[in-house]
Symmetry: C2
Subunit: 200 residues, 2 copies
Amino acid sequence: MPSLPESITCLIAELGKWPGIGPRSAERLALYLVQSEPEAVRQLAKAIVSARDRIQSCSVCGALTERQPCAICEDTHRDRSLICVVERPVDIISIEKSGAYHGLYHVLGGKISPVNGVGPEDLRIAALEQRLASAPNAEIIIALGSDVDGDATSFYLARRLAPFKVKLSRLAHGLPVGSSLEFADELTLSQAIEGRRTMS
Amino acid sequence: MPSLPESITCLIAELGKWPGIGPRSAERLALYLVQSEPEAVRQLAKAIVSARDRIQSCSVCGALTERQPCAICEDTHRDRSLICVVERPVDIISIEKSGAYHGLYHVLGGKISPVNGVGPEDLRIAALEQRLASAPNAEIIIALGSDVDGDATSFYLARRLAPFKVKLSRLAHGLPVGSSLEFADELTLSQAIEGRRTMS
């Protein structure tokens, strides 16, 4: 069987590197692209390169931004005494969508993970300490995932930030809203029971 | 809430135009891209544009190709008396993967569909007639989908190609291999019964 034209094979290989795109999706997308309007394809390629070129990390909080500092760090209407610590820049977007938070952020850039060779010195913890040094009454909300690495990182942070005497909290664990007991795993349920809230 | 940086919003809009990519996937891919190595992103954009620029339709059969005529049309080891009529260039790839066919192809470029304003004159039927004029003993296999438009197009083709006195056949309909009766719809089952094959 004659294989696909080489430029399509190359494109499939490139698209297949994307997260969540399997070999069949990559093929479908590649075939779609080579049959699209040349002008539209050029515009897409430009959007990709230009986004990559313009996006950088905020020098203060580590969020994705086009300018320094980022819009959130510059926003004077936000509660500057609150700092929410997240693992990745995209976590900020999730929290912003919830609309429930109006403070600042700090991106760690990962989680402590001895297995993967990630230690505290690989994360943006020193930068967080610097921010705290100039904001004595800050409150820290640790919003890391609740897997083993996330837990370890949260506890490490709590210990390391203790000298700053900041108020420290973690996101609540419990039942997802709208879900019923039968779909909750044992760990989530036990956390939900432990963290139960009094009803007035 | 401060919206995402503009270049990311643009990129999400571009990726969201792709088939099978919903808003959430588009967002995930865009955020992945702006956090990838700039060099890798540039290489991807280049692969997209270069594939689009180099891929054209084969002047004979209409397949996707980088040269004229395409590798299949040029392959002297293939059975040149067989022409398989398909709707889209990508259908060739599906049939080639099956490994069950070793003839030539002809891409119609669509199906007759009065609802969508697609008539016979919009398809590459005249080009097929030209090919048949110079290949008197050709056999045509019509490999269109079996929806309403596919059926209509198949029957139209059969009538229009009758003057050429070519041998004409359609792909068999029936149970997908490996599937059981209980998952087959009534139409497929009735076609499978009608097209039953004698066992020697």
